[in-house]
């Protein structure tokens, strides 16, 4: 089991790099959905073979919401707004990849000084979770399209959720419920906002919004 867990964690880290390097929004949506599924699988793998039914339920629920419902909403928003690619991001894709490596290094450095219950793999999971959250933050800051920023928000949520999973082993349910509710509301609001922005204006480039005058 530990080997499987390590491979899961590494794939999670790689998905973050895919988010950083990909310019296609459809690919990014797919990646975020895959990440949600993998975090669910990791949650089960960490607690294997003592999986409680409450935890199983919350995992299934969050995977359904984050890997089926939200991607569906986002794909619809992409179609409505006719924005299939992130063009001219603030930080280029190659540079994003390299910065990602540095961020990962920092995350490993930070989490190595934290006290974690359980074995070494839990510490690595913590680093992966923190890295996911930081990647989400990076996407929010360095991408221009509103949809990519929403994706960054979702990624950050994935990370925070996993962070709670690694830390509060017994209170996972509480953390997950709270975060999930937050995100659902936020993405609904943002989805509607993107839809309306694209109806009013012919682009969803957030930089142009800041140039609006009263």
């Amino acid at each position: 089991m530990p080997a499987t867990l390590y491979i899961l964690i590494v794939v999670l880290m790689l998905l973050n790099f895919r988010l950083l390097a990909s310019s296609r929004i459809a690919a990014c949506i797919q990646t975020v959905a895959a990440q949600a599924v993998l975090f669910g699988a990791t949650a089960v793998a960490v607690n294997w073979p003592h999986v409680q039914w409450q935890m199983g339920l919350i995992v299934i629920l969050s995977v359904l919401i984050k890997a089926v419902l939200l991607p569906w909403l986002l794909r619809r928003a992409v179609r409505e707004a006719a924005a299939s690619r992130e063009i001219e991001p603030l930080v280029g894709f190659n540079l994003s990849l390299l910065l990602g490596v540095i961020l990962l290094g920092l995350c490993l450095l930070v989490t190595s000084s934290l006290q974690v219950k359980g074995d070494q793999s839990n510490g690595l999971l913590l680093a992966a979770a923190l890295f996911t959250a930081v990647t989400g933050l990076f996407l929010i800051i360095c991408r221009k399209k509103a949809i990519t920023q929403v994706l960054g928000y979702l990624t950050m949520e994935n990370g925070i959720n996993a962070f709670g999973m690694a830390f509060a082993v017994n209170e996972t349910l509480l953390v997950a419920m709270a975060v999930l509710l937050d995100v659902l509301v936020a993405v609904l609001v943002m989805g509607i906002a993107i839809y309306h922005i694209s109806r009013e204006f012919d682009h969803i480039d957030t930089d142009k919004l800041s140039a609006l005058k009263e």
């Binding site: 867990l5 390590y6 190659n94 990602g100 490596v101 190595s112 793999s121």
Partner: protein, 304 residues
């Protein structure tokens, strides 16, 4: 060095051209064609060796030395490469650096010979070759470095022989997958296979490696083609040791497992070539950068 190392060397020297035949055969089968014979490269080499060489008057000894230096360098590289659990003919501390720079020397010889012709077209190919090599080399070296950290050995033979599931921490599987993926990308780039370069295009503005060897003829061109086949074997042998970490105690089984790994790698190359198109030139550095990231991630994992 054991008797089995010599068997590996003989196998490599005799069997390397077959690898390209297998790749071409797989591409043909998937494309619905009959394809060229498996032994086509042997026929080509025999034909080229019978012919005379033509040298342009503007070239110097650098141009004539290029193919020979390249072939010699790759043979030296082959001497330090183990096949899975079978040790290499020569092994010493730090021979992985020798491997990387013998392949570098081979590239340098090809590039200098290309520049020596004075053709603008070949200069362009040379420029692309070194640009991509500068990105592929760190990926390879970082990958090998992470395996050195993982096993605590500094020579390729000892390093690959120490890779067995029982003796390594659970982290190793993840690290090996990462390094394997990175080395595979480097293999495709360095052997000018499809996502990076199309070995079938001639006289097109998009090619990298083929353009540099346009002016070589006869035995010189045979040396270049044979050198390219040996280079593919070198990378495939290293990759085979990484992706099939099965070490038995019987040398014949190790030899068989290693050769099986080489076959798996070559089939994978054929499948990638059938399924993918060439990348745009601008996207090539990004894929190589991804290989660097994979290697770095492996290194970070094992260093923790």
């Amino acid at each position: 060095m054991t008797l089995y190392s010599l068997i590996h060397l003989a196998l490599a020297l005799a069997g390397a051209p077959l690898l390209l035949g297998i790749v071409n055969r797989i591409k043909a089968k998937i494309g619905g064609r009959t394809g060229q014979p498996l032994l086509q490269l042997y026929y080509d080499l025999a034909k080229l060796l019978r012919k005379g060489a033509v040298y342009s008057e503007t070239t110097t000894w650098v141009f004539r030395a290029g193919p020979l230096v390249g072939l010699a360098a790759v043979v030296v590289a082959l001497l330090v490469v183990p096949l899975g659990g079978v040790p290499a003919v020569a092994s010493f501390t730090g021979d992985l650096v020798l491997l990387a720079y013998m392949l570098g020397l081979m590239r340098l010889a090809t590039v200098l010979a290309a520049l020596d012709t004075g053709s603008a077209f070949e200069g362009m190919g040379a420029s692309r070759e070194v640009q991509f090599a500068a990105l592929a080399e760190p990926a390879m070296l970082l990958g090998l470095a992470s395996m050195a950290v993982l096993t605590g050995k500094l020579s390729l033979s000892a390093m690959l022989a120490a890779l067995s599931p029982a003796a390594l921490p659970p982290l190793a599987a993840a690290a090996l997958l990462l390094v394997g993926a990175a080395v595979f990308i480097v293999l495709l780039a360095e052997n000018s296979r499809i996502p990076f370069d199309d070995p079938n295009t001639h006289l097109e503005l998009t090619m990298i490696h083929e353009v540099m060897v346009l002016d070589h003829t006869g035995p010189d061109f045979a040396a270049i083609q044979y050198g390219a086949a040996l280079k593919l074997w070198t990378y495939a042998a290293v990759l085979s040791g990484i992706i099939l970490p099965i070490r038995t105690n019987c040398p014949w089984c190790d030899l068989l497992v290693g050769a099986g790994g080489v076959a798996v790698v070559v089939v994978a190359v054929g499948l990638v070539e059938s399924g993918m198109a060439r990348l745009r030139m601008l996207r090539v550095p990004q894929l190589l950068l991804a290989a660097v990231v994979l290697s770095l991630l492996a290194l970070v994992l094992v260093l923790r």
